[in-house]
Symmetry: C2
Subunit: 412 residues, 2 copies
Amino acid sequence: METKQILERRVNLDYSSGMPVDPEVFEAMKPYFIEKYGNPSSLHYLGAEARKALEDAYVEVGGLIGVELPDREICFTSGATESNNLAIKGVALRNRKKGDHVVISAIEHISVINTTKYLQRLGFRVTKVPVDSYGTVDVKVFESSLTQGTVLASITYANNEIGTIQPIKEIGRIAKEKGIPLHVDGTAAVGKVPINVDEEHIDLLTVSSNDMYGPKGVGALYIREGTLVEPIIHGGGQQRGLRSGSENMPGIVGIGKASELTKSRMPEERKYLETLRDRLSKGILNSAGEIYLHGHPTHRLPSNTVVRIFGVEGESVIMELDRRGVAASTGSACASKNLEPSHVLAAIGLNEIERHGVIQFTLSRLNTKEHVDYVLSVLPEITKKLRDLSPVWKFRDRLPELYKPHQHESHE
Amino acid sequence: METKQILERRVNLDYSSGMPVDPEVFEAMKPYFIEKYGNPSSLHYLGAEARKALEDAYVEVGGLIGVELPDREICFTSGATESNNLAIKGVALRNRKKGDHVVISAIEHISVINTTKYLQRLGFRVTKVPVDSYGTVDVKVFESSLTQGTVLASITYANNEIGTIQPIKEIGRIAKEKGIPLHVDGTAAVGKVPINVDEEHIDLLTVSSNDMYGPKGVGALYIREGTLVEPIIHGGGQQRGLRSGSENMPGIVGIGKASELTKSRMPEERKYLETLRDRLSKGILNSAGEIYLHGHPTHRLPSNTVVRIFGVEGESVIMELDRRGVAASTGSACASKNLEPSHVLAAIGLNEIERHGVIQFTLSRLNTKEHVDYVLSVLPEITKKLRDLSPVWKFRDRLPELYKPHQHESHE
């Protein structure tokens, strides 16, 4: 029976680690592989065709996030990680004479964390603003961490693991008042919730293509005009000198089309995902005792459900789900190689034992009510099986404090 | 008649600025956009599929250039420009304690030149080894330019504009004897002529995907095991920590397939291109007087023909050719934005006037004898028309020395 399920069923609830390209996006990209293979820098007929496509893509991506001057403020990169690197190193290194201090939050993506670690090796100081148990940045601490020598603040729009959305408008207002450029990592948020760079006072915004059903291998960075940025990839001076290298035209056409489609579909898709997500969250909470939800109860991405099942290892749950054809995750695939629980879970106050119990589900528009119900149908047997084997569960009444379930981060 | 030609005919002889993807390569990539969209870092079924594809691509790219340990020595990037940046900044910055000196040639690609200019701003010293009138690096000067403080040498395998192939094996032997890592920009050469990193003592080799009918937006860098490299894009530690960011799987599958196909097709394609190229070169030389070929007569890429028509501007020839449906170039599209003639043409000894007269044709397997013959059929009328308008041509017997045609770089 179990083998039959594996063969018949594939339910992906781990879309944050990779998304399929929207078929309409793929159709838009297709001609740029074989027929329209020109280089926007060429002066002949093939170049003109490519230039037009490049300019259209600037407008489409800009339109999704409220950019007024897309051809002067959007820069295409190879993906969100490069965009984060370009924003952070670019602003910090270019403005080094003004100061050597960078402010981030404690729950930034690893590409932000490790980029600032690199800056630390070059002599920069980095302040990490803490978050509460919901994963919300402490705005007061953020404000007080900005000093004379601060050259950049970088705060994620929404955390990709626990889904919590930050009060970016307030953060942006504070940064603007102090004259400090604000970079926002929008990887997990752009296309899922409405974002406007002007209204939210964002100076640099990372846009992921694949996270909105666009192709992998391309991303964008919004850079407010007048923001000084040192390139991280030097060469032919493409894209106003900000990012050299012949433009990846199929990818650029893809992120453009994905932006256009996302803009029109977002309101409906958001509602659809929220309904599915709430069904999943409530179903899991009711499937057994001592199960907890993480992240903010309302200010959160429509696509994320993060749970912790007391007494079992998240890793074991993932493996049992995988045997039943369900893909889920213990955290960011970007950091899953080292098998260490994420810094994000530590930042919201989970102790070491608790961090190992977290399971993350990320939904896409390809998920259905049936997918959710299938997961809810197999989870109780998994929980029971693993708890029956778990000494932590067996002796839960006699555990030292560290092993006991904490209630503070739940929000039932 | 002329309008009819424009509408009916499109002859691309500027493939160095962009290549169409091989239909077989595109077929191999296709499933990775919509169905096989997994992330190699994921632990579930989608991850396993992606990991296998990533490992296969390492082997395929490695196989093209004689790499023994492809899964430890190949790193995928977003393209040749990023590969050049990673190799040069990566080695120079990581080994800064050992020295602050980098050696390049005078005819490197602009992505190498501008990357070393960035290093100069960080305090590095850069020596440019001169070339002769064929564009061949002076090996003696190369040898004497390597000093105690030299941390890297970077020499192109073949120049993308004039097509001259460098004596890399000899250069590699010298660098190896002195214990200095050698980076080779193989963008224009990999896939066109056989290259073996071990036999030619290459420590880092830039591989372009699009230049061998693979997709844009992906490239590779061979890094000999033991070579210390600082990443330029930090994050999740993908690809052994050398290049963070979720892998661009369709692109990686594409460069893998392109490498595999290129390896088997190279001998035949090389002969085919050489025959076409020689037909084009000879035809142009015989089409009017005072026309010169540039680059090395024999040690050159099979795909490049570079000519100079005395008395006319290269730019005007390109425009006239474009009106007749022919795409050609005055030099690298990577640097065509500023409309300045290339540093490569200065390095081979052309004066300012001469540099403006250069026209570059780059062939691909999609070109035919008919394409070449069409260009040869329209070029005489273009030459005549432009020379009739040219004061330089009209008064050629009374010109000061600077304006006179130089013969030294010709190799009829």
